[in-house]
C-alpha cells in the first residue's frame, strides 16, 4: 500500500458505497510502463525469494515492459492462484518490495501495483490462463473455498484430479471475498479467481458446511484425499460484563457486512470503539470511519510497540482519523435503557515484565477505572478455531492449530492435508493470504506424490 498514491479520502455520508471503492488507484498504462522499465531484472532476485509463492517477479515485470501482458499475468497466476488478490493485500513492504535491491539505491519497485496491473489485464480480457490436466482417476475433496482451498484446487485440477470444494458460505473466496475490506480488495477480484478455478472443472458446492450438510466420514470414504482449508472462525467472547448488548459486533462479521451492498447507514455520526490492535482491528476501525462514524477509537491493553498490525496499516488508520487509546483494558460494557451499548468501562494498564510471547505483560493500575462513551463496540481480539470439525476428523491439533508435517502438509490422518490459517498458530506459519496460497499448492503437490507417483509432471 502506497500512502502517497491514495485517492482523496473525503468520506461521503450520502453515499457510503463510495467510501468502499478501492483507495489506491490502478497504475495508469504509463505509470506501469515507467515502473516496469525501472526494474533492474536482477539475477537470482531477492524479491522472488521474499515471495512465499516464489513468483518470478523480474520475469512478469519484464513482460509488462515488453507489452506481453498475457504472459505477465500467467507468470503471476502460475505461482499464485490468488495472485490478483495478493497484488492488493500482500504486505509487500514486508515481502517483495522490502527485499527489492533498489531500497539501497533509490526507491523499491512497486511490485504489488505492477502485479495488479498485469492481473487487471487478465481480468478485463477474460483470459483463460490454464487448463485442466488429463484426468488421472483420483478425486480430492477440499473443505473451504478460501485462498488455500482455491490454490490447492487449481493445482490439483491441473494435475488431473477430480476436485470438489465444499464451501459453507454462498460464495467461495474465503477471506478474499468476505474478510478483506472492499477499499483494499473489491469482491469482484476474488470472484474472478474463483471463476478461474471453476473453469478448470473444479466443482464448488457453496452453502455446504461439512459437519452439518455432509459428514467428514462421507468425504473420507468418497474421496481419495481431503484438503482441510477451513481457516479460522469468529472472534472469541471478551468475557466481560455487558457484551451481550446490542451494537456489540464481531470484527470478522462486521467487515463482511461491508463487502456487499447495501451499506448499513446506522453508524453515521456515531461513536465506535474497537477492542484490539491487530490488522483485523484496523480493518474494523477504518470500515467504521467509512460507514460514517463520527469518532472511532481503538482500545488496546498494551502499547504501540506491541501492537500486531502492520506498520502501514497503523499509519493508514491514523491518517483515517482513528484514535488510539493505549494501555487501556476494557472490563465491562455499559448498556442504555434499550439494551444497547452506551459506553465501555476501562482500566488503565502499565507494562510489567515480558511474558511468554516476549512482550511486556500489561497489569492494571489500581483505581484507574474510567468509561469511554460508545454507541457501538467491535471486538477484534483474535479468532477462534473450528474445533468441532477438526475433532470430527480426529486430527491432532493444539488449541485448534492442526498439526502437519511441514514438508508435506499431511495431518495425523494420512489421507487429510491441511493448508492456510487452519495450520497457522503455535509457532507454525504466517496468517497471510499469500502463505495460504503457497500451502494450498504444496498440499496439492504432496497429494500428487502420494496418489500418483513420486515425480511431478508438467502441468498445463
Amino acid at each position: 500500500m502506497h500512502m502517497n498514491r491514495m485517492k482523496n479520502r473525503s468520506i461521503s455520508l450520502s453515499d457510503l458505497s463510495q467510501n468502499f471503492q478501492e483507495i489506491e488507484p490502478d497504475l495508469t498504462a504509463k505509470e506501469a510502463m515507467d515502473e516496469a522499465n525501472r526494474c533492474l531484472y536482477c539475477y537470482d532476485a531477492p524479491c522472488i525469494t521474499a515471495c512465499p509463492t516464489s513468483i518470478n517477479i523480474p520475469s512478469f515485470i519484464k513482460k509488462i515492459a515488453s507489452g506481453n501482458l498475457k504472459g505477465s499475468a500467467k507468470v503471476i497466476m502460475e505461482a499464485n492462484p490468488v495472485g490478483a488478490s495478493c497484488a492488493r493485500v500482500c504486505p509487500t513492504e514486508e515481502l517483495c518490495e522490502g527485499a527489492c535491491v533498489l531500497n539501497d539505491a533509490s526507491q523499491p519497485i512497486m511490485i504489488g501495483n505492477l502485479q495488479r496491473h498485469a492481473t487487471n489485464w487478465a481480468i478485463h480480457n477474460r483470459a483463460q490462463l490454464f487448463k485442466a490436466g488429463e484426468k488421472n482417476g483420483k478425486s480430492v475433496a477440499i473443505i473451504g473455498g478460501g485462498p488455500a482451498g482455491l490454490s490447492s484446487a487449481r493445482e490439483l485440477a491441473r494435475l488431473g484430479f477430480e476436485v470438489t470444494i465444499f464451501e459453507a458460505k454462498d460464495k467461495a473466496g474465503g477471506l478474499d471475498t468476505h474478510g478483506i475490506v472492499s477499499f483494499r480488495l473489491p469482491q469482484r477480484v476474488s470472484m474472478w479467481e474463483v471463476e478461474q478455478v471453476e473453469s478448470l472443472g473444479v466443482k464448488i458446492r457453496t452453502n455446504t458446511m461439512v459437519g452439518r450438510d455432509i459428514s467428514p466420514d462421507e468425504l473420507l470414504a468418497e474421496y481419495d484425499a481431503v484438503v482441510l482449508a477451513i481457516g479460522m472462525a469468529n472472534v472469541p467472547p471478551l468475557g466481560i460484563g455487558g457484551e451481550d448488548a446490542k451494537e456489540v459486533y464481531d470484527a470478522i462479521e462486521f467487515v463482511e457486512s461491508t463487502k456487499t451492498p447495501p451499506m448499513d447507514t446506522h453508524l453515521i455520526g456515531k461513536k465506535v470503539v474497537i477492542i484490539g490492535a491487530g490488522n483485523t482491528a484496523i480493518d474494523a476501525a477504518t470500515c467504521s470511519v467509512r460507514l460514517g462514524a463520527a469518532n472511532v477509537k481503538m482500545l488496546y491493553r498494551r502499547t504501540e510497540e506491541e501492537m500486531t498490525a502492520y506498520e502501514f496499516e497503523y499509519e493508514f488508520a491514523k491518517q483515517e482519523g482513528v484514535e488510539f487509546r493505549w494501555l487501556t483494558q476494557p472490563v465491562g460494557i455499559v448498556k442504555n435503557e434499550a439494551g444497547a451499548v452506551k459506553g465501555v468501562i476501562c482500566l488503565r494498564m502499565e507494562l510489567g515484565a515480558a511474558d511468554e510471547s516476549g512482550r511486556r505483560r500489561p497489569t492494571p493500575v489500581q483505581g484507574s477505572e474510567f468509561t469511554v462513551e460508545a454507541d457501538a463496540v467491535v471486538c477484534a481480539i483474535g479468532q477462534t478455531r473450528y474445533l468441532s470439525l477438526i475433532e470430527a476428523f480426529g486430527l491432532t491439533h493444539k488449541w485448534g492449530t492442526v498439526k502437519v508435517d511441514l514438508a508435506t502438509l499431511q495431518t495425523s490422518n494420512p489421507k487429510v492435508y491441511a493448508a492456510g490459517d487452519v495450520i497457522f498458530g503455535d509457532g507454525q506459519g504466517d496468517a497471510m493470504v499469500v502463505t495460504a496460497a503457497e500451502q494450498g499448492k504444496q498440499a496439492a503437490y504432496s497429494i500428487y506424490k502420494q496418489l500418483i507417483g513420486l515425480s511431478m509432471v508438467q502441468t498445463s
Binding site: M33, N37, L40, C42, Y43, D44, A45, D104, A105
Partner: protein
C-alpha cells in the same frame, strides 16, 4: 566564466552551439526564437528545389520507456520558396548580426547551378555556406545529397564549383553512408573546402507496425528508407569526427553533428576535434530552451578544468585516438566490486557468467550476507560488469601492473628482429 565564443573557419559565433540544417531552422521565425533562447548559430534548412512535402515523415526509436533514443525522417529539403527563405535570412541576420547564420545548399551537380545559389545566399547576408552532400533519401535519387556525397570526385568537383563563387567560408557536410568518411572529407579539402561538418543522417527504417504490418513511418501504406539521427548515432558520429580530426591531411575545422543533446555530449565532440557542434533531434524533442544548460554546463565545466575559453578544449583528446595496432597489449585492468556500494542485483554475475569470462562469484559470508567477488586471475578487464551495474561506484576497473608496454605494431617489429 569561460569564454564560449568561437571562430570556426572564419565564422564567428557567441558559442559553439548551433542548430543543424533541419526542421528547427526552417524559417526566420524559428531561427530568431532559437537565437533568443541562446543558440550561437544556425544552419538554415537546405535551400533548393523543388518544394515537396512528404506526409507522414518522422518516426523514432524508443528504448525501454525512454522516448527518442533515435530519430528517423523521410522529409526533404526546405518546403518554402527560395525568395522567402532569402528574405528571412536577411531579416534574421539584420536582427542578430553577431550570431552565425549559415545557408545549407543543395542543387543539381552543375557548375552554374552552384554559382547561382551561392551568390543568392551570400547576397542575403549569410556568414557561411554548408554544402549538403549528405541527405540520404529523396534528393539522392535525383543525383543530389548523398548520391553525390558518396562519390569523392563529385564531392571535390562540386566543392570547387561552390568555392569559385563563394566569398564566405564553405563547409562541406558529409554523409556517413560510406565505408571511410576520410575519403570524402579529403576530397572536400581538395576541392577547397574551408571546413567540413559531419554526420548527416544514416540510412534507416525506424520500424514495422505489428498490427498493420506497415513500415514506420508509412506514406499511404508504403515506406522507404529515411535518415537516422538522435542519441543512438552519437558514437558513430564521434568516431567519424575523430577519424577526420586525427588525419593530418584533413586539416580543416570540423563541425560535429550527431546525437548531441547536452553540454557533455558537446564537450566530447569538442575534445575529439570539433570546433563547433550542431544539434537537431534534442531540440525537436525538447524545444530550443535546452541550449541554456548546454551553455551553462559547458561554461561550468571549462571553469572546473581551469580553461579560460572553449577554444582551449578543442581537440585535446585527438592525440589519444589512434589505431588498434598502437594499443598497449600488456595493459591490464580487472574489475573490483565495492561491497559497501553494491546492491546485490547480481547483474554483473549473470552478465559475466553467461556472456563473458565466468569470473564473478556469488558468495555468502560467515554472517550470512550475500556478496559478489571477482576472481581477478580470471578477469580479462572487459568492462562488461561495470557497464551493466546500475549503481555508480559499485564496480571499479582497477589498473594492475603487468609488464612493460608492448603494442601489436611493436610486437611485429620485435618478431622480425633477428635473434642475437
Amino acid at each position: 566564466m569561460a569564454d564560449l565564443h568561437v571562430n570556426f573557419a572564419g565564422i564567428k559565433a557567441p558559442n559553439p552551439f548551433w542548430l543543424a540544417s533541419a526542421p528547427p531552422t526552417n524559417s526566420g521565425y524559428q531561427v530568431q526564437r532559437a537565437f533568443e533562447a541562446g543558440w550561437g548559430g544556425a544552419v538554415w534548412k537546405t535551400l533548393g528545389d523543388p518544394i515537396i512535402n512528404t506526409s507522414s515523415r518522422f518516426a523514432a526509436m524508443h528504448f525501454n520507456g525512454q522516448r527518442v533514443a533515435g530519430f528517423n525522417n523521410i522529409e526533404l529539403i526546405t518546403d518554402r520558396p527560395l525568395e522567402v527563405n532569402l528574405k528571412e535570412i536577411y531579416e534574421t541576420k539584420k536582427r542578430f548580426p553577431n550570431h552565425a547564420v549559415i545557408a545549407s545548399l543543395m542543387v543539381e551537380p552543375k557548375q552554374e547551378k552552384w554559382h547561382e545559389i551561392v551568390k543568392k545566399a551570400e547576397a542575403a547576408g549569410v556568414d557561411g555556406l554548408e554544402l549538403n552532400f549528405g541527405c540520404p533519401h529523396g534528393m539522392a535519387e535525383r543525383g543530389m545529397g548523398a548520391a553525390s556525397g558518396q562519390v569523392p570526385d563529385l564531392v571535390q568537383k562540386q566543392t570547387t564549383w561552390a568555392k569559385e563563387a563563394a566569398r564566405t567560408p564553405v563547409i562541406v557536410k558529409l554523409t556517413p553512408n560510406i565505408t571511410d568518411i576520410t575519403a570524402t572529407a579529403w576530397a572536400a579539402v581538395q576541392g577547397g573546402a574551408d571546413a567540413i561538418s559531419m554526420i548527416n543522417t544514416i540510412n534507416s527504417l525506424a520500424g514495422v507496425d505489428l498490427d498493420s504490418w506497415n513500415t514506420v513511418p508509412n506514406v499511404a501504406g508504403k515506406g522507404a528508407h529515411g535518415g537516422y539521427c538522435g542519441p543512438a548515432v552519437k558514437p558513430i558520429a564521434l568516431n567519424m569526427v575523430a577519424e577526420c580530426a586525427r588525419n593530418p591531411e584533413i586539416n580543416v575545422p570540423i563541425s560535429g553533428i550527431g546525437g548531441i543533446g547536452t553540454w557533455k555530449d558537446a564537450a566530447e565532440f569538442l575534445l575529439m576535434g570539433a570546433g563547433s557542434v550542431q544539434v537537431c533531434t534534442a531540440a525537436m524533442h525538447h524545444g530550443f530552451s535546452i541550449v541554456e544548460d548546454m551553455i551553462d554546463g559547458l561554461s561550468n565545466y571549462l571553469d572546473s578544468k581551469g580553461l579560460a575559453s572553449v577554444e582551449e578544449l578543442i581537440g585535446r583528446t585527438v592525440p589519444r585516438y589512434s589505431d588498434w595496432g598502437n594499443l598497449d597489449l600488456n595493459y591490464k585492468v580487472v574489475a573490483h566490486i565495492n561491497r559497501n556500494t553494491c546492491i546485490n542485483c547480481n547483474k554483473c554475475h549473470i552478465a559475466c557468467e553467461d556472456t563473458a569470462h565466468q569470473c564473478i562469484d556469488m558468495l555468502t559470508s560467515a554472517d550470512g550476507n550475500k556478496y559478489l567477488q571477482v576472481r581477478e586471475e580470471d578477469c580479462v578487464g572487459c568492462n562488461l560488469c561495470s557497464i551493466v551495474c546500475p549503481v555508480d561506484g559499485a564496480i571499479d576497473m582497477i589498473e594492475i601492473p603487468n609488464g612493460p608496454p608492448m603494442t601489436w605494431n611493436e610486437r611485429q617489429i620485435a618478431i622480425k628482429q633477428p635473434i642475437v
